[in-house]
């Protein structure tokens, strides 16, 4: 009843209300999109930081692995276990002919 009367008395009123509602909706969407974008940027920032932290951890682990494999660390432990470097007298060098003979033996004797 009232609306009908308003429309009758002010023909632009409806259009103005629609425009206002449209502007409010558009503003709402805009605010939502911008807020969402900002939160996404923060989320992306967090992920990037996490990735950097993981990279740093990988770097640290590589350094640690290299240090653990250092001869200066391994050798004392091997010596503790009773292992020794062979003296030059203990190293027997096999010539090509020796190796060929060994291959023959492995293959079931010379043919």
């Amino acid at each position: 009843m009232l609306n009908a009367r308003l429309r009758k008395r002010s023909p632009w009123f409806g259009a103005l209300v629609a425009l206002a509602l449209g502007a409010i909706a558009a503003s709402g969407v805009l605010v939502y999109v911008r807020t969402h974008l900002t939160s996404m940027r923060y989320e992306l920032g967090r992920r990037v930081s996490h990735e950097h932290a993981l990279s740093r951890e990988v770097e640290r682990l590589r350094v640690e692995a290299a240090a653990l494999a250092a001869p200066e660390r391994i050798e004392p432990r091997a010596l503790e276990l009773g292992l020794i470097y062979p003296a030059p007298e203990q190293v027997v060098t096999l010539s090509d002919s020796h190796l060929a003979a060994l291959h023959d033996v492995a293959a079931g004797g010379p043919r």
Partner: protein
Amino acid sequence: MSAVRRTRRRRSAGLRPVRLTVVACAGLLGFAALLGRAVQLQTLDAEWLATRAERQGATTLELEPLRAELRDRSGRPLAVSASVESVAASPRLIADRRAAARALAKPLRMPAKELERRLAQGASFVWLQRWVTPAAAERVRALELRGIHLHSERRRFYPNGSLGGPLLGFADRDGRGLSGVELLFDRELRGAGAELRVNRDGGGRVLPTATSAPETRAGQPITLALDLELQHFAEKALAESLRKTGARHATLVALDPRTGEILALAESPSFDPNRFWEGDSAAYRARAFVDTFEPGSTFKPFSIAVALEAGVTRPEELFDCEGGRFRIGRRTIRDYHPHDLLTVSDILRLSSNIGTAKISERLGARRLVDGVRRFGFGRSTGSSFPGEVPGSLREIREKQAVERANLSFGQGITVTPLQLVTAMAVFANDGVRVTPRLTRAAADTPAVAGERVLSVRTARIVLEMMRRVVEDGTGKAAALPHVAVAGKTGTAQKVKDGVYSQRDYFASFVGIVPVVNPRLVIGVFIDEPRGIHTGGMVAAPVFREVAGYAVDRLGIGTGVPGRAAAAPARPPRLETRESGAGEGAG
């Protein structure tokens, strides 16, 4: 009553549209104003505002790629980089500096007074501790102290400690190579960084930008020719020798004569590049490249080779060694042990100064100097190592008989250890001189490519002579039980205050293993050994120990690739006491 109500309702109904219209118009005007302002901010003032925002929140991030790895010939890391954190402070932002210092003292393991002193400087920025451990960084972060920051930095780690320290050199806190291989390959290892403009929010957090990060060029890993295990063994042997002889310093160079690859370059004492700022700068020197010495008798094979090549003598020709004393001009030359008649071969085997001087007399000064220069003496080896020195080889006139004689047995000339080993490799390479190289040669590198210095025949004759030095001469202590070795000893008096010292010697041995199809040239140099000081007694045993290990490790003489060439790398082979033939067994 009802008529009055009706009249009021009619009036009220008449006013409502007017009020609503006014309110709606006011609202619309408000919206219009807001929209107008938004349009102004987003379009008209956008540029000005963006500039202002950038001034306030934008910052430049320097994207620096990690310094690339240095690796040994099997790919094991010798130098690696990683991000570490450093603790800094903005003292002006700290209300209670004493309390902050007390809180930080424990995680940083620093005296609270020292921290307080640094915080008292009143500067806007001060480092409290660089390169802290991850655990310490976490503890500092947990304190949440205002004005205390953690900065991510790059650090160079040398996981093998002092192993190969002088050769590798070090990179400083800013990741720049300052010495050794780190300096030589600095550009390749560093790569190229880039800059990225980013925005920070009010809390200082970096917000990702719409533009993608610019490309950085990663550094290129460098694979050295060095064999980590052989290097370790060599350094251990040198350290033990230093302990036994009381010498000042010792150097060992192991070279593959076919490719020129430097398989080991050991110095003792060494230094730990992880803590380069604590070491004595003299310890940084890779003496094999930058220190020179008079080679003494290790130089004799070169003089004799030049004479044989020139055809002025033959291996079996006899020379009178004058019973150990021979006068040239005003100088008397002496032999360590007196000899009479010796063949050229025996002159080398027994290391006769007089015999070598007499051979050089036949050759003449000019031909001697020109001949030994072709071995690479008096010029850089071409290794490109920073600070490498060429040594000195002076011109000698024909009339200068004393200088010519001195040169023939290694006096009046200075060489670097690497120069001497590279020159000795000529005999191992059938007369061809290779350039020593620090990086691993590519698989398709032709074996023995270089400048011909001697004929194949002369090279093999001298090699055979040097085999006799080890078999039955001054170098017997270098002999290996199952592999033939050639080599030459040297015991040079050091020049102190312009005269030859009677107390300070430079003992050396340079050997080739095996004699047939040589695979390794090893030079051992011991500076100022105390007590027993001859090269044959001091340096040759170190050669024997290291060459014995290398024979096993490199598969020398087996005709199959050694373990050092195999990938992936494995730790050194160790045998149990039970499985070996027993220590000292022959």
